[in-house]
Symmetry: D2
Subunit: 350 residues, 4 copies
Amino acid sequence: MSDTMLAVVKPTAAPGADVREVKIPAFGRTDVLVKVKVASICGTDLHIYEWDRWAQGRIHPPLIPGHEFCGEVVAYGDEVTSVKEGDFVSAEMHVACGKCLLCRTGEAHICQNVKIIGVDADGAFAEYVVIPESNIWKLDPEIPQEYASILDPLGNAVHTVLAGDVAGRTVAITGCGPIGVFAIAVARAVGAAQVFAIEVNEHRRNIATQMKADLALDPTKDDVRKIVAERTDGLGADAVLEMAGHPDAIRTAFDIVRRGGRISLLGLTSKPISLNFSEDIIFKGITVQGINGRRMYQTWFQMTALLKARKLDLHPVITDRIGIRDFSKAMERLKTGEASKILVYPNGTR
Amino acid sequence: MSDTMLAVVKPTAAPGADVREVKIPAFGRTDVLVKVKVASICGTDLHIYEWDRWAQGRIHPPLIPGHEFCGEVVAYGDEVTSVKEGDFVSAEMHVACGKCLLCRTGEAHICQNVKIIGVDADGAFAEYVVIPESNIWKLDPEIPQEYASILDPLGNAVHTVLAGDVAGRTVAITGCGPIGVFAIAVARAVGAAQVFAIEVNEHRRNIATQMKADLALDPTKDDVRKIVAERTDGLGADAVLEMAGHPDAIRTAFDIVRRGGRISLLGLTSKPISLNFSEDIIFKGITVQGINGRRMYQTWFQMTALLKARKLDLHPVITDRIGIRDFSKAMERLKTGEASKILVYPNGTR
Amino acid sequence: MSDTMLAVVKPTAAPGADVREVKIPAFGRTDVLVKVKVASICGTDLHIYEWDRWAQGRIHPPLIPGHEFCGEVVAYGDEVTSVKEGDFVSAEMHVACGKCLLCRTGEAHICQNVKIIGVDADGAFAEYVVIPESNIWKLDPEIPQEYASILDPLGNAVHTVLAGDVAGRTVAITGCGPIGVFAIAVARAVGAAQVFAIEVNEHRRNIATQMKADLALDPTKDDVRKIVAERTDGLGADAVLEMAGHPDAIRTAFDIVRRGGRISLLGLTSKPISLNFSEDIIFKGITVQGINGRRMYQTWFQMTALLKARKLDLHPVITDRIGIRDFSKAMERLKTGEASKILVYPNGTR
Amino acid sequence: MSDTMLAVVKPTAAPGADVREVKIPAFGRTDVLVKVKVASICGTDLHIYEWDRWAQGRIHPPLIPGHEFCGEVVAYGDEVTSVKEGDFVSAEMHVACGKCLLCRTGEAHICQNVKIIGVDADGAFAEYVVIPESNIWKLDPEIPQEYASILDPLGNAVHTVLAGDVAGRTVAITGCGPIGVFAIAVARAVGAAQVFAIEVNEHRRNIATQMKADLALDPTKDDVRKIVAERTDGLGADAVLEMAGHPDAIRTAFDIVRRGGRISLLGLTSKPISLNFSEDIIFKGITVQGINGRRMYQTWFQMTALLKARKLDLHPVITDRIGIRDFSKAMERLKTGEASKILVYPNGTR
């Protein structure tokens, strides 16, 4: 094994990224070194690449980005007991402090001292990545590698869908990026009676349809409120999963949720959102939830079990596969809005 | 419309039943008269027919039994507002008092003053049956009549399965009578990752397999505990749905549930059950639930939505279809253990 | 018994109200006629009196307002079974339809077809009021009459407090009108470790202090965010109960709730509220609930049990007691902001 | 600081225990060395002392018992970050593995690989004890030392009481050993409307009364079922907390719980328990929970907050205080049934 590896590197506080040889990272007594089989690109990676305001405030270059991946254990520290060489793994990249109230009461996914590998520390767009043992997620070899590389966003979807009752209910999803369409698959798998996808982008609506949404609506043309009412005896959707983060989508979410229903908010907003609390929340008696990350590790158990049981067909979401040297091309491709999930193969072997 | 109708009648406090002409029942201001399309036979009907100890203590002949059915509204009292002639309906046959603490806090399914139509009052093995408007359940005509006739036991299964988390979990079902195998279909529909059926009767195990249980085990031959452990990383089943009411099945339920899991008890027992509370319940930190009837009417909404969305294939359970004059033959057939659900057509038209 | 009674009447679509003799209302087969002992004035009554925009859109004069009261049963229809003459009663004044999904799934408090007695039909500022049997709430004679007259707003408080965990938690209440200060008493009674009251009006803060809030803060002078942080190890409040409906109070609620906490919204807003969903809801992983009315009838059971067990001292909230002829004076008194709960004695006997 | 300390030692696999000088234990990189201020004696310690069948199967002498204590941090390993010298602490003595499904899903209190300090490793009946940092619980100096020494059994009580709704409910407790009477205090503090204590031993009933149980019943003389029915409108108790582990107490628990209520089982049984599942569990629709340990660390946060807010008066439970050399006398005293909680002061300074 060589001392160096190929990695995507954000070298300085400016747009862009390089692919270059860097040192294979050192690992501590409680760490695991993983050879990356497949990594997957997230919208966050595009923010880092383009160096937008959020990135400027959060990222400290040089940084290897990448927080969605799977790989094989190649080495580990002397206090590690739960993995061995050759194990097929992914990881929860939110490293929680383990000591705050949230961590000590089963809410580590909203730990106030969290560090994210691939954002606050070197990540997975590289031949190797270092992960603390506590965050390693061992995988059954039956789970396909390409699915194993997207457990982070799939986990977002599982967490969001399962944050309330779904069985026999009507679920509406506003925003059909990768997490939105994963949520379609998950909602169907866990017994939603109807799943409505609401999305302005035609490519994304097409993927929603391939993921077997009962309806894929274009809010710029379809009367979403009326259609949802017609299909729910005038009541509205039992659950609305907001994945867009756009003011119009959020407005739709509050319009179509039924009395006593829930809105689960995952899509991040960059602008203030204005609501009529009396009409939108109080008289309807709804519940609005902020959803962040994945439950550590309840979501992982549920997600893995669904995958192993082949309850989720996620293929329509994976639109592109590239080698690591083409990372910048992938960024351009993402910007077109035509790609959904792009997989990166740092070790070249698909 | 004639004044009389054909009905199964339990005439006296003795085994057996007659099929005879009786008066079409009168209905009150808040009642609905329903022409029965299909009725379905329950194990309870066999207890009444055979006049066992339970029946002797509960039933006051003469009685028309039958508490699972669907039909068409033909008339109703002057205070009824929610149905009209020709509506396709079924009904919740547990008529709750509406005034006790249970009824007033959303727990009407365990009302302490409940009367059951078909047990405490004349039921549905007849051409017509009278149902209070409050208990009528209107159905979408898309739902097949034979499914509409078995909503009572299907509702038991839906209530039991949804009494805890199922998505991405391992569910074991002990006892594969009709409710047990319905529970297989429901558990699969709402995202169970694995469903194990445990049943001594070969006919029933075959139906369990047709309902797509992942495993159908014979506890007289298979090492159930070991097999469940092997398929759950040594942990045991997340949820065990006990549908048999037999001491051996109950012993199995406690043996195979994992720490922190749940056992939902639906199968009625006739003998005392002995447990080691420390080992069986306390150290494992499990939850044991008594399940009775169907939630009024949460279960009905969920069940209907799943059916309308075609998430449940129940055909393997319906093994026999008879005219009302063959009721006694159906009773004999049930006793063989070869039949599962037997449908009765009181108006002769399948 | 005379044919007529004294009542507060809103005669026409204009500000003000009369006190005049009107006919004692007729009652139907399922209704109960109650002689009003004590009625209590709500902010809603002031809106109706002043004929504001909300009142203009909702109220159809002539109307007898009043929806908080207790009294004695004097007569009832022939289908009524659960009360008898002389029973001491109050009532849930939200008359739900009983037939919609909400009503049939234990969520009648947000029934979409609700009618409110005292708003949509003649209410309790009168010597007699008619209530459907279904909505009558029988009371133990041990419960003081003046407490029995304020069960509607006390129920709002009980519903809000118990909409999430409170035992051993820190609860903050923004807005200390009657429901807000009731919530202080309830939160203390059910084991809140700390209760913070946040209110701009000095009279109301004084009542909050008398109700034994651990802190009564003036947001125009106190650094609420800092003080709450200091008393919660920097985390924030576990639950914030928003009772003010004012944009500043709502801003405070989102500022002081901890990660993973809940905000329960009861205070009605007349203006749009603007939030940064990412920072205010999503990253913090909080839950926001709209709270409406009282759970029918879970809240009533819990509230009555707490009162009967003498767990709630509500005296500081009752600031004024008047005869029915002084209704207009009471309205003026309310406007000063110095009064909290004003009790009306329509039959003159305190 | 000397190299040795005084400790209670179970030297061999036989009844009894010595008090002797032993080496102060060494601690690892992630451990904390605590100087024990107060330790408290549990029934388990008596089982170990008397060397009963359970002890023979579980304990590997030599062992220093003791799993309830508080003390002061005197030293710690180089990876410890969350405590410093002089900190006032107690500890969760169940050391969970951190790696099993239970540990990774917020259920560490039922970890299948748990080790208990004071049972499986040297404990707190000594001048010093070693605790892993993960299990240390820092305490506010305002919490009295004697309360700080009994957090383990108090936590059992808090866990049991808060395993379901209590506010405004009727709670019955069967068995009034220390945990049972702690549960009285906790249930009152979190808003139980009525608390009934059921206990055969007069000393224990007296303590229950001092803890302000609304009723302390002697099941050998009082008609418990009738009395509970009278005080609950014929319904029964909403929650029964079973703390006795005796067949008669368990029978009572099932007799007095209301339909839809819960029974939380904490008391360990040594004999099989026989139930009529149909009548006792299924028709009543009750929930039976096994309760084990304390939730890690939700229970600790709630318990500490209640203590800091002075919501719990526990003094009646502390009946004896001894120096460590009198350990064997304390064992004899416990056997009389007259003592409840006995505190031990290993460093001699009360």
